[in-house]
Amino acid sequence: MTHSDEPRPQSSIQAGPSVRPRPRRHWWLLVIPYLWCIAAIPAVNRVGYVFGNVPFLLVWMIIGVIVTSGCISAVYFVDRRNGDLERI
């Protein structure tokens, strides 16, 4: 477990082998798109139509694309703040 008051290295690449890299728990956000576009589908498929006659599955997937982009950008900006963009 990494304590939050530990000095944060600017880049873990330069941190050297003695410092264990900071965990990237925010990467768990990347699971959301899969829950949205895969796990939720049986429930979504039961809804049928919205706004009159628009298939809900289509609307759900369109929002899913935006949610996916949102999750990735959140991860990207946290990584950028931490200087982790080049970290493998």
Binding site: S12, I13, P17, R20, P21, W27, L30, P33, Y34, C37, I38, A39, I41, P42, N45, R46, G48, Y49, G52, N53, V54, P55, F56, L57, L58, M61, I62, G64, V65, I66, T68, S69, C71, I72, S73, V75, Y76, D79, R80, L85, E86, R87, I88
Partner: protein, 508 residues
């Protein structure tokens, strides 16, 4: 006539323009030709990767899926989106490995990662077969478009050959750089075209607004809006959707040209920023959905055999000639760019990892690479000309077979203990399950109806890869570092891994 003239001007203009822009001030060697000198920043890389999103087959295949089934075709919105988070994790690793170790192909990577050139060679052969299947999909799309452009008076085989010829010319001019430059033109044109067609779709379908399209489709086919769609085939149910979308993002990066494209990136930041925009690009598929739904209304009696070309037929029979010409020209470029990338990949792989093993002087030979382009394009043309199926089923098939390379890809970056023998055993078993129908259906009995065969095959593949890896000799430390450099996450992984191998050693 107008159609053909506009189409030809569009294609020649953008290919020539792209090649001109690409050729400015660069000396062409193999590295320049095959991975664009590893200098592409966010934007150029975006368009090249997006080229893989919007391919002729993806456009025609998705409109076919919506046209003939309704809701199942909406899956296409998920394929691109779900590949992006995987890309965020994976592509920087591929890019880094390529840059640090001077790799130009997928085969190079696997040779280096396991210090086993036979393994790189094997991956190359498997990969080239997959690429040829994929080429077939693109060329089928291309010939469909040419058929719309020039009519059905000429046999479709001639169109496939013409398509192959176009690809060779295109690739010879400038390699990966010209592909990237033309990709920019292509995407802008394509989006414009889709907007024009979508705006006219309601009118062409005989209703007064986009909402009217949805109303009428529901009226005609009440089951179109939910899975399993029009006609209610079990093969397009919720299980199909879930297993297919789970498999697709894994398979997307196992295609060898994903490596090729990853190597063109300048750095990890460019790749990662790219993954934010990439999914948004697939929102343009909404336009395709609207157009395909309108086509259901406008072409109620189209034979199922022609569903492949429903998008083209819809436009050809309902829009002014200049729109048809623009769309056809645009469609040709849309097929050319990805096919060119595939051909660059297949020929670089073959020269570097097969020819280069036999005769080392040829390993970095641009001449040999170019000759391979001709050979592979011809092979792709022959495969296409003598065997045609519905586009979507080919796509599913390719992804399922190629998806079997996914464990090799992921484990190389995640697990130090992975061995080449383990991955080979796993991939062969998985590939057999996908490609031998008897094996596939036997395995599928344990899964809900509708599940894509690639998924259970992948599970068996992965289990075998892990077990056999633990039983075989681990690769040398230097080779492991190709995929897993420095300490990074090794602290945690190594402990867990040691415990896991102890556990399994005991249980064995």
């Amino acid at each position: 006539m107008v159609v053909a003239i506009i189409g030809v001007i569009l294609v020649v203009g953008s290919v020539a323009g792209g090649a001109f822009l690409a050729s400015r001030g660069t000396k062409v060697d193999v590295q320049e030709w095959s991975v664009g000198g590893r200098r592409f920043g966010t934007w150029l890389f975006w368009f090249l990767l997006a080229g893989e999103t919007f391919t002729a087959s993806a456009l025609l295949g998705s409109s076919q899926a919506i046209f003939s089934g309704g809701a199942p075709g909406f899956f296409v919105l998920g394929t691109v989106a779900l590949a992006a988070p995987v890309g965020y994790f994976l592509v920087p690793r591929i890019q880094r490995a390529g840059k640090v170790n001077g790799l130009t192909t997928m085969g190079d990577f696997f040779s280096a990662r396991f210090n086993a050139r036979w393994f790189g060679g094997l991956i190359t052969v498997f990969g080239i077969i997959a690429l040829l299947l994929y080429t077939r999909v693109q060329l089928t799309g291309l010939s469909l478009i040419l058929e719309t452009l020039f009519g059905t008076a000429i046999p479709s085989m001639a169109y496939v050959f013409a398509g192959g010829f176009l690809v060779v010319v295109f690739v010879f001019i400038g390699g990966m750089r010209s592909a990237a430059f033309v990709a920019v033109v292509k995407d802008i044109l394509l989006v414009l075209m889709l907007l024009i067609v979508a705006v006219g779709a309601a009118h062409a379908a005989g209703v007064d607004s986009v909402a009217g399209i949805f109303d009428e489709v529901r009226n005609m086919h009440p089951d179109a809006g939910t899975l399993p769609g029009i006609g209610g085939h079990a093969s397009m149910n919720e299980w199909w959707w879930m297993s297919f979308l789970l498999l697709t993002p894994l398979g997307a990066f196992a295609l060898p040209h994903a490596f090729q494209v990853a190597y063109t990136a300048r750095n990890s930041a460019a790749v990662r920023k790219n993954q934010i925009i990439q999914p948004l690009y697939s929102l343009f598929y909404v336009l395709i959905a609207v157009i395909a739904l309108a086509a259901i209304l406008a072409l109620p009696n189209l034979p199922a055999k022609q569903a492949n070309g429903s998008l083209l037929i819809f436009v050809a029979s309902n829009y002014p000639e200049w729109v048809v010409g623009l769309l056809a020209g645009c469609g040709v470029i849309v097929a050319l760019v990805p096919t060119a990338v595939i051909m660059i990949t297949a020929s670089s792989m073959f020269t570097s990892n097969v020819l280069g093993e036999i005769k080392p002087s040829l390993k970095r030979s641009l001449g040999a690479t170019r000759v391979s382009v001709i050979v592979f394009t011809l092979l792709g043309v022959l495969i296409t000309a003598f065997n045609s199926e519905a586009l979507l089923s080919i796509m599913t098939g390719v992804y399922s077979a190629v998806g079997q390379l996914a464990p090799a890809l992921f484990l190389s970056f995640l697990w130090r203990r992975t061995t080449a023998v383990g991955l080979t055993v796993g991939a062969v078993a998985g590939g057999a399950i996908v490609l031998v129908p008897a094996l596939g259906s036997a395995v599928l009995t344990a899964f809900p109806a509708g599940t894509v065969v690639g998924l259970p095959a992948l599970v068996i593949n992965l289990l075998l890869a892990i077990v056999v890896s633990l039983l075989t000799k681990r690769p040398p430390v230097g080779a492991i570092a190709v995929g897993m450099p420095e300490i990074s996450t090794a602290g945690v992984d190594a402990d867990a891994e040691a415990a896991a191998s102890l556990q399994s050693a005991k249980s064995l």
